[in-house]
Symmetry: C2
């Protein structure tokens, strides 16, 4: 099966030279972050990802998680890998030191998370969901809840889940029907069924902490009547150890296209008298609390897009270097060559590589901005960074995941006929990637959030500020000489203009014809992603050029980066114009048919 | 599981009003083709496709074909469906009446083939490969071979296969090593291993006729030393019945991403002394003969792109009309609505629908041109039509299949979380579609054929003639009033101009820098497909408008077609500009890295 090695050189480059690791290290609470520490963490994480997690990726996919009479058995090797994962302290990386976490910046945790997700996405979902649950309890839980659950979740001794979806309530959480009945002792009894619960049941730990959306008896209808509860699989004894089995049971797991090793559970609450839970925070504010961890989770799913793209790229690259087929184009009767010599294979590999690097850069920059938004001493800076993060989370989630499907599919194509054979492993990346544009909010949900809450509601203040920064980078490109910079500047210019026209349309239209604006929401999200990626690649090329001028020695990293940025400008950025055209002109054709005309 | 109903209204429209069914019916040998006959055939084919084949699509996928000690057992229901298929005479539809065929035009056979492929792609591969083998034997076989094999293959009593690929010889058939040793009796003994042989072994019929590429002992190296042989599974007795088991055995079948019910076989020839075969045509011209059926097969795979897109669209549409989720956009607290009301779901459905209709139109027009190229009394017309067919076959194959992956993936997205659950069936279409850009020549192989043999070699004569026709349609759009026609005209204009600039670049570059031209080959193929699709949709809109003016009554078909053409113009055609940009500007960024820099 395919190997994985973390792209540490590019990760270091992005962290240090694009995302501002040095600035992050100066933030209050980040005093211990040093260059050596970061090197050591990335190195250790790479060893774990490539040595322990990656070898289980394919076998886990083929074996899958198995349901048996309410229990779920994870694939061979999963328990041991999880034990090693927790023993090495990886679950605690970005968690609050108050509860045993290491309190490292999100920027560093992001790079490490990318490795887990590249190495073994199905495995990575377990700590990812646990982190979301930790975040919610940390921010909104009672002191008792924090004391009872957080240390064991941070250490990985217990895992966490998010229970939102019900059969009739997918994207529309207003339709949640699960109910919570208050008990005299201050606890609640939970009744209902939840579906699509990732790691809702498994054999990795001796307890599972479910965070569950449910309605109190007197709750208002809709989203403002949903509360959040902690419902452990085993109710805790007075000494905090797992006690009686709670009334939450896994009645089945799904047969899915991908992430086979990640059990996706149907959970029944209250079939035997009610599952015992405790309220998180205030009644009827559950959705708001869930959104705290949803932002985290959306960013993490965006990183799955980056990570799967990287894995698919490495997989395809290895094949392209090994597979000998045909002669050099234009050379008849010459020696057979590896397919990386063929122009279209080159084009495919460059397309995978350039987009993956652009996505990584944008995601890490958003990760660093999250650190700034949380920790910067200046309130104005915090607010500005938070606005940037809020704007970009749907883009990181939507754009990186949509791309990952195409990139994984391109990886299959590079393999030719072998790509369709499961044993080659390329198809698994496509199957795994296919969920990422759906869960934690579909691309359309991200796009509606983007044009509505993140752009129209604030009259475009943040997006306009971002565009100003893009224009400044474009101006700096003009100061460089050489064909590559001319090409990059030209495409970025057209890309930014396209973005501007689409922003103007959204701002002018959203208030008076929300449907027309919404037709363009997903094209707009892709447009913003593509142009933001071009902005990042342009920044990367400028840094690379400066380093070359300064005489940076060693590898070809910087010259490679400039070529990669140019490819992005020639092959990816030009799509911006078409997307803007659809945003601005595309509403009538999309909405004119009656339902009967379909 | 999902239902399928053939889109007979659109098929009829395309055949009659875009592809020139009446002209085809006037061709020599097509005298029996009448409007009533076409109606009856489409109606019967729809009954068979929807009633017999479609219900086996999902169960066949889940069960798959099973290998056991050299035999292959097809999925439950396959044998019965195949028997019914042959009894109804469907295998003989477009075959030569001399051997029992019905001799119907390709245009009609194309529509019928679309139905089989929409209903059950894995099933459809068996008659498709048989047809290819029939074509080769008909055109190049000896009289003995024709007499021995054709009647039984045309009737479906025996099936046929194409044996090209070997482990070291995928896209590069020059590397074929299977060898044929001449025997004193005029037969040959075949030794070697072939892979990826569709329906290379199965339990549907009492014989299988393998067409096999192999080298004679004195053959030159490379593609000019490959000969074509007929190798039956059972050697024929003197009376033509299957006799002794031949030395060709299925040693395994592949574990694939999709088309699980279609056995993809590894065939070993000659492990027990040599498989007995007879030569087709002249020695060393096997590849040339194989290409006769390859063109057929490439067109048929292009139709798989159309057919899977149609099936995925129908599947998604049904779900979108049924699934209730959320309220109308911009309406708070209103009633819950089906998701077809949501703008992004609309956009996705229109994108699927408009591209599927554009692809169908182009493919049927190419099908009709094939009939003209074969049968038209005027040699000049035949030559012109053949040039058009030669130009467009790689486009139908490459563009329709690439689109089908995206369209099937969009179908998954419309389903939300259910799309990822295998039982919902949407994922199967994506898994099945994923092979279509690979087999019978990858998209890159099609694209190289397109820019090299079909454009550069004839200095762009045919493509320029096509562009002239496109411009004429654009001019007619200018004579129409109304917003939709303004929008269609504007986009088509930009699309054609983009195509022109790319053609100029290919013509100027191919001779002096074939690598640079080849980097743009796949983007060029997609560009030509998108613009040709826009041309077809513009023609469709013009016909529709004329019918509306004439007072065509009844359904909303014509007004729907105009809206659909407009959607295509607003959302799909604008991509042409970006593709042309990549063709013209994209070589340097793609080729500048050394292999070590990856």
């Amino acid at each position: 099966m395919s190997q994985y090695t973390a792209p540490i050189r590019d990760m270091q480059f992005v962290m240090r030279e694009l995302a501002g690791l040095d600035e992050v290290a100066k933030l209050p609470g980040c005093e211990e972050v040093s260059s050596d520490l970061v090197d050591a963490i990335l190195d250790e994480a790479n060893k774990f990802a490539s040595g322990v997690l990656a070898p289980l990726n394919w076998s886990g996919d083929q074996e899958g998680a198995k349901w048996d009479n309410g229990s779920v058995k994870t694939a061979t090797g999963w328990k041991d890998a999880y034990r090693q994962f927790t023993e090495a302290g990886w679950t605690a990386l970005a968690c609050d030191p108050q509860f045993g976490g290491q309190g490292l910046p999100k920027l560093i945790a992001t790079a490490v998370m990318e490795m887990w997700k590249s190495a073994n996405m199905a495995f990575s979902l377990c700590p990812m969901l646990t982190n979301g649950a930790i975040e919610s309890i940390t921010l909104r839980g009672t002191d008792d809840q924090k004391a009872a659950y957080l240390p064991k979740m941070v250490s990985g001794q217990w895992t966490g889940t998010m229970n939102l979806t019900e059969p009739q309530a997918g994207s529309d959480l207003a339709a949640v029907r699960t109910r919570a009945e208050p008990q005299p002792d201050g606890t609640y009894r939970i009744f209902g069924q939840k579906i699509f619960i990732t790691y809702g049941e498994h054999d990795l730990t001796d307890n599972i902490v479910h965070l569950v959306l449910a309605r109190l008896p007197d709750a208002p209808e809709g989203v403002k009547g949903i509360s959040l509860f902690v419902v452990p699989k085993f109710v805790l004894n007075a000494d905090g150890t797992p006690g009686a089995r709670n009334d939450v049971h896994c009645v089945s797991i799904e047969h899915k296209l991908g992430i086979h090793a990640s059990p996706t559970c149907v959970l029944a609450f209250g079939d035997k008298g009610g599952a015992i839970g405790t309220l998180v925070g205030e009644p009827n504010r559950g959705l708001e609390y869930m959104f705290i961890m949803m932002n985290e989770a959306r960013f993490a799913v965006g990183m799955e897009g980056v990570a799967l793209s990287e894995r698919a790229y490495q997989h395809a690259l290895t094949y392209a270097k090994d597979r000998v087929q045909g002669t050099e184009v234009g050379v008849r009767g010459g020696p057979k060559v590896s397919i990386i010599h063929h122009p279209d294979v080159r084009r495919m590999l460059m397309s995978m590589k350039s987009q993956t690097e652009a996505m990584r850069a944008l995601a890490y920059v958003v990760g660093a901005a999250t650190d700034m938004a949380h920790l910067h001493p200046d309130e104005a800076v915090r607010a500005q960074k938070q606005a940037f993060v809020d704007l970009m989370i749907p883009v990181v989630k939507g754009w990186c995941t949509e791309n990952s499907i195409d990139i994984a599919s391109t990886g299959v194509q590079v393999h030719g006929g072998m790509g369709f054979i499961e044993e080659a492993g390329a198809a698994q990346h496509l199957r795994d990637a296919r969920i990422t544009t759906i869960y934690e909010g579909t691309t359309a949900i991200q796009a509606n959030d983007l044009i509505g809450r993140k752009i129209a509601r604030e009259d475009g203040v943040t997006i306009k500020a971002v565009i100003t920064e893009m224009r400044a980078v474009q101006a700096r490109l003009g100061e460089q000489s050489g064909e590559a910079f001319v090409a990059i500047r030209k495409s970025l210019d057209v890309g930014i203009s396209s973005l501007e026209s689409a922003v103007e349309y959204i701002l002018a239209t959203y208030g008076k014809d929300v449907k027309a604006a919404s037709v363009g929401s997903v094209p707009f999200l892709k447009l913003l992603g593509i142009v933001a990626g071009g902005w990042m690649m342009a920044r990367a090329a400028l840094v690379a050029q400066a380093r070359i001028v300064q005489g940076a020695a060693g590898d070809d990293f910087y010259s490679t980066k400039i070529v990669t940025a140019r490819f992005y400008a020639d092959h990816i950025l030009p799509q911006a114009h078409a997307l803007a055209y659809s945003v601005v002109n595309g509403a009538a054709g999309a909405m004119d048919l009656s339902e009967a005309q379909f």
